[in-house]
């Protein structure tokens, strides 16, 4: 039995909530949570947003973020109780025995200081090493984490390195003082799949080589399965299940865990090709003041009632394609035809009928709805605007739409702030449906949602497609989503379509290099997947 590093007993965490229009309330965020972590082990904390995973993770450094208070129980690190410890003790623990890797490295680094300065700051502050020694250790860590030019990497500023590199620099920062425990708070969530895999591999190797223990917080079970020894599943601030990674993945005991493991198991039969409703021919577009084309000669089409998925990493031009089609960014060349008519490049020149038949759903449902309008106004406006519906007729149609998105009664008078993330996205779908469109552009509509909620949205979209015969242009970076709903796929890379065709064809070999990389980067929910991919890559590069 290895030595116990972290022992959390009956931890209770509370916060004060300020519900709109009501007096402040005390709420319990984490109920009675207990676990132990041995030296050198990695524990994955998993759950949807609001499950309390970050809060529990931060409690390992006895820290409550934004008014959150650790009100009960014990947190023992190296045998010392730190939950109720004073600031002096905490100062000596944090940055020495336990360190933290934040989700958004870009926001966590000071943009005005060089990386090296920030990576060794805690080490110097605690007097653990001299400057020369600390810098040497930082360079070693940069090398371990596969950062380019480890010798001079530290001389760069945060804006001079990529997002994935910055996340690895942050890992170096956390590992530099030789801590016993590192808390990783969703370190790869903000990264592209293709980048995520490198960062994940680097983190895993660094953990193994330094023998540090870690709490790895994420909402993606497939990711945590690759790096952790044990997994703890959380929901609503309570522990659902805690076991070894193998047990959780292969033999989950609780219903909730089973649902998480089997997420994204939607099956969708590819439909036969038909005469297109939307044709995009050779569309090229650029933003004013930019010297290069963001889209170059894009040619794709969508059949009525079918789904075209546009996949690619951030910056590949997926969303720009949507802007070009909707007319927000008039293309500089090419032609877009919709339902047999040629669409004018500019939004302002389009007749109302074209606007009505082409609707859009956004990634961030919270900012896609006016916070000062009720659901009734949000859904009712298109009815009024396109069909001139008023009074009773309008209210009835609103209720019909609410039923269609499975929200039922009582939602019409709510404000967006009173809805959950999934409900907000449903209301946005209803707003698009209200116009009775022929095509809906879905821009990363499930990316901001928890896996189970996202699943619900995808099922709803598929059902609506069947009922209303509406076509989707589905923009996403997530290949699992694509597999679940697409009829045809366009893979985009640097503003070009690199692979395009029916789903079965695009997703079967032979692959081009980029599609291959993309497909291989999607985490799979099984043990040893990460090692296989890394091994494959090594063999390929050796073969080349």
């Amino acid at each position: 039995m290895a030595e116990t590093l972290l022992e959390v007993k009956n931890l209770r965490i509370e916060a004060t909530a300020y519900p709109p229009g009501e007096p402040p309330q005390e709420i319990v965020i984490v109920h009675d949570c207990s676990f132990t972590l041995e030296k050198g082990r990695v524990l994955g904390l998993i759950g949807e947003s609001g499950a309390g995973k970050s809060t529990i993770g931060l409690s390992a450094m006895s820290y409550g973020r934004g008014g959150v208070r650790l009100t009960g129980g014990e947190v023992r690190l190296n045998g010392r109780e730190i939950r109720s410890a004073g600031p002096g003790v905490l100062r000596s623990v944090r940055g020495r025995e336990v360190t933290y890797v934040a989700q958004s490295a870009a926001a966590a680094f000071n943009p005005a200081k060089r990386l090296m300065e920030q990576v060794i700051e805690a080490t110097l502050h605690h007097g653990l090493m001299g400057r020369a020694e600390a810098e040497k250790r930082a360079v070693d860590l940069f090398r371990q984490l596969d950062l380019p030019e480890p010798e001079s990497f530290g001389r760069r500023y945060p804006h001079q390195v990529s997002g994935g590199q910055l996340q690895r620099a942050m890992t170096a920062l956390a590992l530099c003082p030789k801590p016993d425990l590192v808390v990783f708070d969703e370190p790869t969530t903000a990264l592209d799949v293709t980048t995520q895999i490198d960062v994940l591999a680097a983190i895993k190797r660094a953990i193994q080589e330094t023998g540090v223990a870690a709490l790895y917080i994420t909402h993606d079970l497939a990711v945590v399965a690759q790096v952790s020894d044990e997994i703890m599943v959380l929901r609503h601030g309570r522990m659902v299940e805690h076991g070894t990674t193998r047990q959780i993945i292969e033999d989950p005991q609780e219903d909730y865990t089973r649902a998480l493991v089997s997420v994204r198991s939607i099956e969708h039969e590819e439909k036969a090709s038909a005469a297109p409703i939307l044709t995009v021919e050779g569309v090229t577009a650029r933003y004013t003041g930019l010297a290069r084309d963001v889209l170059s000669e894009i040619t794709v089409e969508i059949a009525p009632g079918q789904t075209l998925a546009v996949v690619g990493e951030s910056g590949s031009g997926k969303s720009t394609l949507a802007r070009a089609i909707t007319g927000l960014l008039p293309p500089t060349a090419g032609k877009i035809s919709f339902a047999g008519r040629t669409l004018t490049p500019k939004l302002e020149d389009r007749p109302r009928e074209d606007l009505r038949e082409l609707q859009m759903i956004y990634q961030m449902a919270d900012v896609a709805m006016n916070p000062r309008q009720t659901v009734k106004t949000i859904i009712g406006r298109p009815l009024e605007f396109y069909f001139g519906l008023r009074g009773r007729a309008r209210d009835e149609r609103i209720q019909e739409l609410l039923d269609e998105i499975e929200l039922g009664k009582g939602f019409a008078d709510r404000y967006p702030a009173e809805l959950s993330g999934g409900q907000k996205q449903r209301v946005c779908i209803a707003r698009a449906l209200a116009a009775k469109p022929k095509l809906i552009i879905c821009d990363e509509v499930t990316s901001a949602l928890d896996p189970l909620v996202a699943d619900g949205i995808l099922k709803l979209l598929l059902k609506l497609q069947k009922d209303e015969d509406v076509a989707y242009l589905f923009i996403t970076h997530d290949l699992a989503t694509v597999r679940a709903i697409a009829d045809s796929i366009a893979v985009m890379y640097q503003g070009k379509v690199v692979r395009y065709g029916p789903k079965s064809q695009v997703l079967s070999p032979p692959f081009d290099a980029y599609t291959d990389l993309l497909l291989a980067s999607v985490p799979e929910m099984r043990l040893g997947w990460l090692e296989e991919v890394i091994e494959n890559r090594r063999m390929e590069s050796a073969g080349n």
Binding site: Y18, P20, G21, P23, T326, L328, L347, R350, R352, L355, R356, Q359, M360, Y362, M364, V367, A368, M369, N370, P371, R372, Q373, R381, P382, F385, Y415, P416, A417, E418, R431, A435
Partner: protein, 271 residues
């Protein structure tokens, strides 16, 4: 939600002054220009605040003065807000050369100190209440324009405004239904402040003799009429000064409270 003490104090004084102004004809003990006593009579049962430099009842002058001051300031504030915010939102929503033209014109107006600008205009124009309101309103609207444009620029990039554009909505809907409700909080706070500046501005103008003309009373004018008394230890000039100060503070206390309330309302942006 309980009203904080500061807001109650603010509301009390603001209400007191506004009600006194509205019902001036009923509550004023004497006529506005009626000479009822000696020069600078001290406080007595007949004259609660004493009399002024030519023997008029000071309380009466204060009540009528408040009426003029508050009316002019309110009208000027309303004018500056309707003008400034509509133009500011328009500039932000339409953008391009409309934005450039409006913004540069506002810069031009703001580059001239407003007091000097007002003095020049008022010395060539007939000084009536209407002209005063127009001059103050237009000068103040430049500040409101700046604020509303800045707030609206932040809002126009939100997805819900884009969604409205994609729906084919016109600028009127976008300005009044999408942007205005979300820009209200900072505008309300600014409105309290602007109202105070309007009070101070009209008082300054009257003190300099270019504002409200005698025999019409107004607070700045009362300070001017009674300022020589201070040398002889007569506090008549301090009464309107005190009124100006308390009104300024009270309105701001109320504005602060309204601001915290609106941001914590359902669907508020400030959360």
């Amino acid at each position: 939600m309980r009203m904080p003490l500061s807001a109650m104090i603010g509301l009390f004084f603001t209400a007191l002054y506004f009600l006194a102004a509205i019902f001036a004809d009923f509550i004023a003990p004497y006529g506005m220009a009626e000479i009822v006593g000696g020069v600078w009579d001290p406080i007595s049962r007949e004259h609660w605040l004493g009399t002024d430099n030519i023997g008029r009842d000071l309380l009466t002058r204060m009540i009528y003065g408040g009426q003029t001051t508050i009316f002019v300031a309110t009208m000027a504030t309303l004018l500056s807000f309707s003008l400034g915010s509509v133009l500011g939102f328009t500039a932000a929503v339409i953008g391009g050369w409309v934005d450039q033209a409006l913004s540069r014109f506002v810069d031009l107006l703001m580059s001239i100190p407003s007091l000097i600008f007002a003095l020049v205009v008022l010395s060539v124009m007939p000084v009536t209440v209407l002209v005063l309101v127009l001059v103050m309103g237009i000068l103040d609207s430049t500040r409101v324009f700046r604020l509303s444009r800045a707030v609206a620029v932040d809002i126009t990039v939100m997805d819900y405004v884009e969604a409205a554009r994609l729906r084919g909505e016109g600028n009127v809907w976008i300005i009044f239904r999408e942007i205005l409700p979300n820009a209200l909080s900072p505008l309300v706070a600014e409105m309290g402040l602007r109202f105070i500046f309007a009070i101070l501005f009209i008082s300054t103008l009257s003190f300099l003799g270019l504002g409200v003309q005698p025999p019409l009373a107004d607070w700045g004018g009362i300070v001017r009429e009674n300022r020589e008394g201070i040398v002889y230890g007569i506090p008549a000039a301090l009464v309107p000064a005190f009124a100006i100060a308390t009104l300024a503070i009270s309105v701001n206390l109320v504005a602060d409270w309204v601001l915290t309330r609106t941001t914590s309302l359902k669907g508020g942006r400030g959360g």
